[in-house]
Amino acid sequence: MTAKNHLGGLKFKAQFDLWGNSLPRSELDWVVKLRHESMAKFLQFGLPGPKVEAWKYTNLGQLNSGNYELITSADNVVNEMGLLENLKGSKVIFTDGFYNKASSTIESQNGVKLLSLNDYLKDFPEAAQKILNKNDDDSSLQSLNTALMTGGYVLFVDKNTTLTAPIQILHNTTTSSENKSIATKCFIDVQENSFAQIVEIFIGADEQNYWRHHVTEAIVSENAVLEIYQIQEEGKKAIHTADTHVDVGQRANFKHYSLNLGGKISRTEIKPTLKGLQANVDLRGAFLGRNGNAHDVFTHMKHLCPEGTSDQIYRGVLDKGGKSSFQGKVYVAKDAQLTNADQSNKNLILDRNAEANSKPELLIYADDVKCSHGATVGELDADALYYLKSRGLDQNAATALLVEAFVSEVYEEIKLEPLRSKYLELALNWLSKEHKK
């Protein structure tokens, strides 16, 4: 990475100079030091510009030109906007990037430690320093996130522990989020032979213009399973960037589901590193865009060990004014023999004024591997439409049915029932909205 082609970031620096000392845990010297170091690291490069290959299709110019302010505190009033009611288990709510204790419920379970990041920084400073000072940021945005983080959570699952219910993490906003940059960070550590499911929902109001930047760092140890389910329904004007970095150990299993619906710009980065023998990663997602939504999904699958398997399925539907890009990179290191990596990205364009970009990428350094990718862009199959219409469905109903089938492929294997139906319900709502136009 070079500073060339990066946009500045001095406005964030100015905000940091003004308000940095009001950010949470400023009473802890090491946190302040870490924030400053991270800010310096961010400034080496600044925000990635459109000439940076990974950001070819998404322009963060608005972050650079807009005067986003830091948010330093939030009122602790109940706000459950967006909460999934029919899901059992702990509920952790972040409002405007701050842990909303009044709305959250944390159920205790033996071997499971779930707490707010700011509490963790205070109560377990040594362990927290160890995690935060890893110094392995792979992007300037990640460094900026550390410098500006307002809240987040930490989840530890001990060996041989199965979470009794999925943990629901909800990120919502209030009117105070107007023109704010909201940075949240979380750490997940699932130890050997354990099982954890996390449902993460991002939701915001259409009226507010904010930048939500969320970073997840996860470790899935030997034989463990981690499943993350994300739903992104940010407000129309919002910029949403979510990075997930995950280390997957021997015979461990990582699954990531996502559905992107909102935001003016939404960028979902998922970077799994398969560090153990026979690790397995499945990434599934859909992005539905119209009326100024620009969805960008960026995956970087790193196969470092032999016999790993990975599979990616992404579906995009672009209606009037929607834009999308999928960039999926599969890297197979020299030693990662017998890797099996698949990837598929299909895009449907429903309107003249829509755009889909796809850049599936294979970087293969081992010879005894099976890697494939497929990408398509097109409109609905005319024959299929005709068939449905000849059976008495009108154009809209026929279209909706075909699009539903197209999207549902992504979610059909989900076993966590409320989520599977939620995903399909959201997709259907999106489709039916389309036909009201």
């Binding site: 290959e53 020299k334 023999q337 895009n347 364009i349 429903l350 309107d351 003249r352 829509a354 755009e355 889909a356 970009n357 796809s358 850049k359 599936p360 990428e361 294979l362 970087l363 293969i364 350094y365 081992a366 010879d367 005894d368 591997v369 099976k370 890697c371 494939s372 990718h373 497929g374 990408a375 398509t376 862009v377 097109g378 409109e379």
Partner: protein
Amino acid sequence: MVSTLETRQAVEEISSDYKYGFVTDIETVKAPKGLSEEVIRFISAKKDEPAWLLDWRLKSYKKWLKMEEPDWAMLDYEKPDFQDIYYYAAPKSADDRPKSLDEVDPELLKTYEKLGISLQEQEVLSGVAVDIVFDSVSVATTFRKALKEKGVIFCSISEAARDYPVLMKKYLGSVVPAADNFYATLNSAVFTDGTFVYIPKGVRCPMELSTYFRINEANTGQFERTLIIADDNSYVSYLEGCTAPMRDENQLHAAVVEIVVLDEAEVKYSTVQNWYPGDKNGIGGIYNFVTKRAACRGLNSKVSWTQVETGSAITWKYPSCILQGDGSVGEFYSVAITNNYQQADTGTKMIHIGKNTSSTIISKGISAGKAQNIYRGLVKVMPNAENTRNFTQCDSLLIGDECGAHTVPYIEAKNPTSQIEHEATTSKISDEQLFYCLQRGLDVEESVSLIVNGFCKEVMQQLPMEFAVEAQKLLGISLEGSVG
């Protein structure tokens, strides 16, 4: 391919020398090393060029000075020192051009014989007109008469600048503009020779046109420029083939090929590229930075690129099609083989602008030794390109566990009626296939060659007869030293 030590050793023994590595000793006239306005004026004067072309060169040079060498390709090489290159070298006898083959320097003829392209033989037997570029100046042109009868212009680009200024002014730089990219701009400033082809309306070129390139003088950059214009309802098949002698220093080759295709016309451009790839340890070899682009300007026009890339230490090459005319068709068939320390970043761009345009991309990459082979391609559909169709298939084959095969396709669609499909796979030669061949009595080398030829069949079938045989042999030769 998981290989045994024995097969590796067996194969390494066979593969020591580059078969076409020899140097012909002919005196040449050189411009001083390095690049400056004076050198460009010298080249232009040597070529007896009209003033407008010199202006064009100088403008390009000024633009080039402000440009930066691109670094987005996945290539790792020492950047050339542009002041340490000869930009002009012509065989000494160029001032006094031979009237017939008998007058051609016998040593030169011998070189061609070693390469198996004896002019006499070709003139008499094969019916292929050969415009030989030997260190930048066309030395002999055959069959010009037969072509003239049909109205086909097939000459060196310097001649065209003098004799056909109207066509040259209209089309030179119209597909690859002077300031297109770093290497194309350099070429625009210093191109020394190349081929000009014009096929008039309604003419089907009676023979396949062919140019053999040779880089011969040490430290000479080869800056060829090719311009092909196919007027309405015409057809031409053009062959480009390269072999180069053994060299220790890296040589720069920055060619530009421009093709203009008008209504209902078709151009088929086939390349066998076998520049010196460097030795087994990655020393020496040609830097091949080529800009090739075709503009399908007419209705239902068609361009077909076929390339077999086996040579060069570094290849940076993306033969592209701009499908402007409604109903135009672009095709790209490619086999790229890299062995030892070779690196190839190659692919195509299909830009769909007109309605009902279609494109096909078939790319086969084979990587062996410590080589890196990258397919990089773009399929772009503009908003008004109705009913666009694209099919892309990229297959990579890895031989040995120290090489890399990469695929970097870009798909950008802005029209809902487009249909774009992309598939890519990466695999190795299966043990079963190899075992089957060995069991039938083939040795490892032959087996690999057979399997690889099968892998590339879809592309090889596109090659004209003249090339097909040579290309098949080349696949085998190129993979020598890889693993069985």
